[in-house]
Amino acid sequence: MSAPELVGGSAADRERIAHELVTVTIDGRQVQVPKGTGLVEAAAAAGVEIPVFCYEPRVGAGIGACRMCLVEIEGMPKLQTGCTTPVTDGMVVHTAGTSEQAAAGQSATMEFLLLNHPLDCPVCDKGGECALQDLSFRYGSGKTRMTFRKRSLEKPIPISPTIALDRERCIMCFRCTRFSQEVAQDEELSAVNRGALSMIATFEDEPYRGPFSGNVTELCPVGALTSTQYRFKARPWEYEQAASVCGLCPVGCNVAVQSREGRVQRVLSRNHPEVDRGWLCDKGRFSYSHLYSEERILTPRRRGVRELEELGWEQALDELEGMIERAQGEVVLALSGSETLELAYALAKIVRQGAGSDRVVLPEQAADALDPFRVPISALAEAEEIVVFEECPVLDRAPLIELWLKQARRNGAHVTRIGPSGDIQRGRGEAALACQELAEKESALGKRLRAAERAILLWSGGGGAGGCHLAALAHALGLHEKEGSGALLLPASPNARGVAEAWAAAGDENRQPRQIGLLVVSGDEAASEPQVRQLAEHARATVALTLFAGDSGEWADLVLPATGYLERSGTMRNLEGRLQRLRGATGSPARRELSWLAELAGRLGVDLPGSEAALFTELSAKVLDGISLASLGDRAPLPPRVEAQTFEAARAESPPTLLGGPLELIRYRALFSGPEVEHVPELSFQRPAAEVEISPEDADRRGISGGNEVVVRSNGTRVTLRARINAALLPGMVRVAAEHCAELARGVEVSRP
């Protein structure tokens, strides 16, 4: 039996309770379970099934809403709901299997649930994987006594562009509302009206806007909440499923990618209890349709006289080979951090060994400084003290971490955020200084961290020197010696650490070209980086590997079509350092990168295998201690912590002074942005508004009030945005989503037009 989940109470309480065992008898079978275990789990341990609808430990303790789990307990006059009853020592329970009373109760429940249910299974997207179908098949009477008209309501109601609600099918289990109120804590869904008229609704029929809303479609035991993208696309028995990993952020949620007839039809969670606990963010869940966007490029393109023109692969490879030759060793590779280790390694090998150059632009600095403080993400839920150095909102970088932080707070943890709009307000670039202050003996928060049994530090923002500042603090606090304590860095790109490793594995020389003969840009994220764009201006030639030609098409001489993360196989390293496997769900309409890279390598005389598995073996021998792909399994284990070493921390420096204007612009990559999201029309309502966030002080001084149209200016760039007053923001700072920043510099002035 897997350890039963205990809900509520402090971590210490739960630990104490878990050690006391009680004996219960269920349908004549005796089991010993930890005290406090729910009856449903105890029965499962005894091999007896108690059917449930509303019970879902991940959204909180049982609430006894659906009455499906009725059982008879000796000594109690009436039937009890199994999901709300913890077992006690000596309890004797009879489920519907052995008790007539319980069976009668359960079949009456079933009949009530179906009283107003439309039973339109043939047109219902849940049909085939529906708890109500399954349980009425097994526990229902098979005959109906309902001869009257059923309640009929307007359906389906789009409660957001991504979710449709069918109120007729709802069985009022409150899983969705509990998720919204207790897990995502967005308070968007609630039940309105009473009795037979109760129904699920959003506030004033506004769309359900929240980064985690899609989870309710998976939680709903019936077809009441379904995904609009998946609507009528496939039946559960028709799809093929690939056990992959989401490649859109550094959390690396485990996903089941379901495809039918060669097209991805939906992405579901695959529940890695240490990483995602079965939740996904909407970006990971709904972005897959970017693969089928009309704007995706599927063939190589070359800069023609006026615009990009298509060309065949043979020609494209000729062209690329010529470009590499003409560059004479002056090649620069710009990586996005969204590549798999294998792809990054193949590219690195071509550049380092084929083109004879060793210059790379990595998405961010990565280091192994935090490896001694490695903890699974799930440790956040048990922590007592959590400090987040939050220069960029955690939600935008690693959305699932935000969900874990909420869980931590519900479990009684102190969460302190340090940053421009945190509990302790610090300006941009001051996180390293804040780190040093915490490490000092007299800091009050530092003392709390030292005293806590389980403390976790998170770094969300740039300038962390690859985690070195945080590592120095974690070391000073002694977090490597305490189990359940640790420190994690949230990188901006999904596989920043992995691509750095892959680059290092492909060569160890250091030949820095003085000029850029050829710039190789991998990935749409890199192509949209202003820094890479600048390099492209200085390069004699550029080649870009992208899904869309939006950014790269403006300056690249050769654009090669890329494959999406759902089509790729390979491995990625997430923010904990966990190496996880991606398994391509479908073939790609564009040629696989590894296939043409292997061909190109052959022309350049580089030995490059064309399969992911062979590349992994090569990589593993060089930088991954020879681990095998098989050892990663379906739910990858966390590598053990490494021995902590004392090291000299880099000195934290004060941020450079501002040029251009008095206000500091924080340009952030919002969660719902990036090449994938931009090509999913259903997600456009979630994208960041054209707004500038400004502190009340700065707004007052400029006579700006919320909602005003304002002009943000720096060095000749002017952007007109709507002002939003953010009371939590440190004065002197303004925040604008990267996609609305244009070419604004770091120092800006905001004024009324």
């Binding site: 339109d120 299974c121 043939p122 047109v123 085939g128 009528f232 039946r235 028995w237 028709e238 007839e261």
Partner: protein
């Protein structure tokens, strides 16, 4: 020895002689078509409601029931200006690969709306295998009534209600 051989030859000649005077049993197919049993299972039909809407809602249950996996259904949503079936969804693509079909009738049994039924036609030869993939249009079209059906009253097994109109 010789005697017994003669007796055997004589016996078989007798059989031949007897058959010469019997009537012929050859049926002149295709000029003459023998009526098929009323529950005979032949080429499928997709049925319509009286108001002209398709009965099929594209639920894929027939495809799930089919033991040889020869039905392909791709559903889509009805809209106000494109109403194809009575429910929320309809079959945008409905195909049966008759070269694989074993005429078991499971699809007919699985269908919750009597949308797919098996007719009586068995003359399905084509020159190309791909012509045996019947599309929705072909299955919706009125059957080319070529196969005579025997009178159901001659048999004591009842014909299911959804087959009586064929």
């Amino acid at each position: 020895m010789i005697g017994s051989t003669l007796i055997t030859v004589g016996r078989s000649l007798g059989v031949t002689l007897k058959q010469i005077f019997r009537g012929t049993v050859t049926e002149q197919y295709p000029e003459y078509k023998r009526p098929v049993y009323p529950r005979f299972r032949g080429r499928h039909r997709l049925n319509l409601h009286e108001n002209g809407l398709e009965k099929c809602v594209g639920c894929s249950l027939c495809a799930a029931a089919c033991p040889v996996d020869c039905i392909r259904v791709v559903a889509a949503e009805n809209s106000a200006d494109n109403r194809v079936s009575a429910g929320e969804r309809y079959a945008r693509i409905y195909e049966i690969n008759l070269s694989r079909c074993i005429f078991c009738g499971y699809c007919e049994l699985a269908c919750p709306f009597d949308a797919i039924t098996l007719g009586n036609d068995y003359e399905l030869s084509e020159y190309s295998r791909s012509d045996l993939i019947y599309t929705k249009e072909m299955l919706l079209a009125d059957p080319i009534k070529r196969t005579p059906v025997a009178d159901a009253a001659l048999y004591d097994t009842p014909t299911p209600y959804y087959r009586t109109d064929s």
